[in-house]
Point group: C2
Chain length 389, copies 2
């Protein structure tokens, strides 16, 4: 057997594993130090109680009718709840346009199954590494647009067929204004391109900001939107996300929605009733109120953590629209070097920005997914550390 030669370009190095190893090594050499971790990107709170209760009820009611394969696109009770959730925000999405999945990552990467190898992929820097890696499975050409410092990336005239955007940006944390996002939609429509809109962190967009690309006119003709319950409702372990493919997204004479159904029929068998019942509880008024509490906890953590970084001139005082912060290393130190410095001198872990592409070199990301206590302790350490260097 010959192996996929394109795939062979992908490195085996898992940055999260490298961080883990360095952290463990440091702890081993310094058994007395209490390491504060700001590199962990999983919400540390359990699923909201109504979700756990709903999953328990589903387990109670397991019966013949629940032993069938789940409907491949999702149970109507969940796709309808999500459709209503959009409608409450003024966005019309039919339940037939919503596909339940076992996590945003699977669908973001699986969408490549539908692209021609000749499509030009556009990735905006800095980027979530899976946009890049999942396109290294084939010969598809990849182009980059790099954002200006503290600005969202904008189209720069480069011709592309598939465009990856994230909102709030991962790792930048920046949110597109309606006007900025309209420019991307306009660009996609002119170029007959597809926008893959990664809205995994949409719940963190502050009141009044753009949460869904479908708030923008024309987007329902050129964009797929991917959302996750991992980031806002503690589903990282439980696994559930959803993908929106509007019926009006058409290439040639083919509806992308129908092609995706066809793809799913061959390569996917749905998500269990138990998990979908749990997810449904996220979209009730009670569930949404609990989501807002969590969003407030983590964004407030970020507000606490960014203060000493703003004082030191390493971050700008921008609105917080994500459970993480993107900032500069002091003294032009490289990302991995600064990771080591902070670990060594402040017993704290951060995420090296270079993981997010070349444009991330010299930058760092920190995660606000921690307790308030830890966030306060970390902010103190950051302040002290920055004064000493």
């Amino acid at each position: 057997m010959r192996l996929n030669e394109y795939f062979m370009r992908i490195s085996d190095v898992d940055p999260a594993a490298v961080i883990e190893k360095k952290t463990q090594d440091f702890q081993f050499a310094n058994p007395d130090k209490v390491i504060v971790r700001l590199d962990l990107e999983d919400d540390p709170l359990p699923c909201p109680d109504p979700c756990t209760q709903a999953m328990k009820s589903a387990l109670e009611s397991i019966s013949h009718s629940l032993m069938k394969l789940p409907p491949r696109q999702g149970y109507p009770f969940l796709t309808e709840a999500i459709s209503d959730f959009y409608l409450k925000r003024g966005v019309k999405i039919a339940d037939s346009e919503i596909f339940i999945n076992d996590g945003a990552k699977c669908d973001i990467t699986a969408l490549t199954d539908l692209f021609s190898d000749e499509d030009v992929v556009l990735i905006t820097q800095p980027f979530n590494p899976i946009y890049y890696s999942s396109n290294l499975f084939s010969s598809r050409p990849i182009r980059f647009v790099t954002a200006k410092e503290n600005e969202v990336p904008m189209p720069d005239g480069l011709k592309a067929d598939v465009i990856y955007l994230s909102n709030p940006g991962n790792p930048s944390g920046l949110v597109y204004s309606a006007e900025q996002l309209s420019k991307w939609v306009e660009y996609a429509l002119i170029n007959e391109a597809l926008i893959i809109f990664d809205a995994s962190y949409e719940a963190f967009v502050a009141e009044g900001g753009v949460r869904s690309i479908y708030e923008i006119e024309g987007a329902a003709e050129c964009a797929v939107e991917i959302c996750s319950l991992s980031k806002s409702a503690g589903f990282a372990n439980t696994r559930l996300g959803y993908t929106v493919i509007p019926n009006r997204v058409v290439f040639g004479s083919e509806k992308l929605n129908r092609l995706w159904s066809r793809r799913q029929r061959i390569r996917f068998n749905g998500v269990s009733n138990i998990i979908q019942r749990g997810a449904c509880a996220v979209f009730t008024p009670e569930g949404q109120s609990l989501v807002r509490e969590r969003v407030k906890l983590y964004t407030d953590n970020v507000r606490i953590l960014k203060k000493p970084l703003i004082s030191a001139g390493l971050a700008r005082d921008l609105p917080v629209n994500a459970p993480y912060l993107w900032f500069s290393c002091p003294k032009n130190e490289s990302s991995w070097s600064f990771f080591g410095t902070v670990l060594e001198k402040a017993a704290m872990t951060l995420i090296p920005g270079s993981i997010f592409g070349a444009a991330g070199e010299g930058k760092m990301k920190l995660s606000g997914y921690t307790s308030r206590e830890n966030a306060l302790l970390a902010a103190e350490r950051i302040e002290k550390f920055l004064k000493e260097i």
Copy 2:
């Protein structure tokens, strides 16, 4: 955007949906008739009670540590249980060689991500349609080997790089002898080919038959094995399977196990703790005893159903190693035509054999996944129907 031109060859017709539609239409036209369905391939019994209990316990104990992404390859408690399960049958599989997935179908089709587009794929007829369809996502050439009547397909000298085998055969229900399977392993080793061994129904292989390809010498150097809990432990809705990739499967200088880990890192985020806890209960002595009860129920159903077919000369009296039966249509009727005849005249649904490739034309499959009561009723109807035509 240009679409994947190879994928465009795949039809949107879902045979299961066509069967459903025809069945509903018949019921609508004949409201008084009680249709007996032998086309449904999901185990109608709920998950065994120990599995449901384990899932409930997992939900009770949801805590901070369970909110992280699941380990991508599976929780050690489950991979170790499966490794032990193999060892009890005399097969040594390290837990690092086992990958937990959300159902056999996802991995059977996802493995194509690692193949070169130049690899020649060999599919043995009649076949599970996903082997074929999942290879229509690229330009990869596909060849077929057709089995002789009531025999397992054997290598016929055709050169191939990737070989799909199922054991027990789906839809044939036939099990390879060790000697027959050794010929495929030998063939794969000589041709440096990979065998994808679909063992989704392995629990149904009668005592003494080959359940795992790793019972065959040399298989650990050329074969990947895929198993499912959907067929033997009622996990069709719950979603859990596993893939075995031995460390000794190497192409060029690359371990397939390592490449698969790399693939999963990019395109998969694991299976929830809740579901894996439930699955773990399948591998206890109690769980296995419940699996054997179910296997007996469904294979006995098949034994009941095959009697009138044997009498009519449409099936041979072979050992039952699957929860389904493969048999011939009478009077050379085509599969879909016979489907209609049986529905019309006996108010019974079967699966047209032509769904399983050209070699399945003129054949039918029936599923034993039904109650004993239904199986007895269906056997009566089959007998009566065959006498009347």
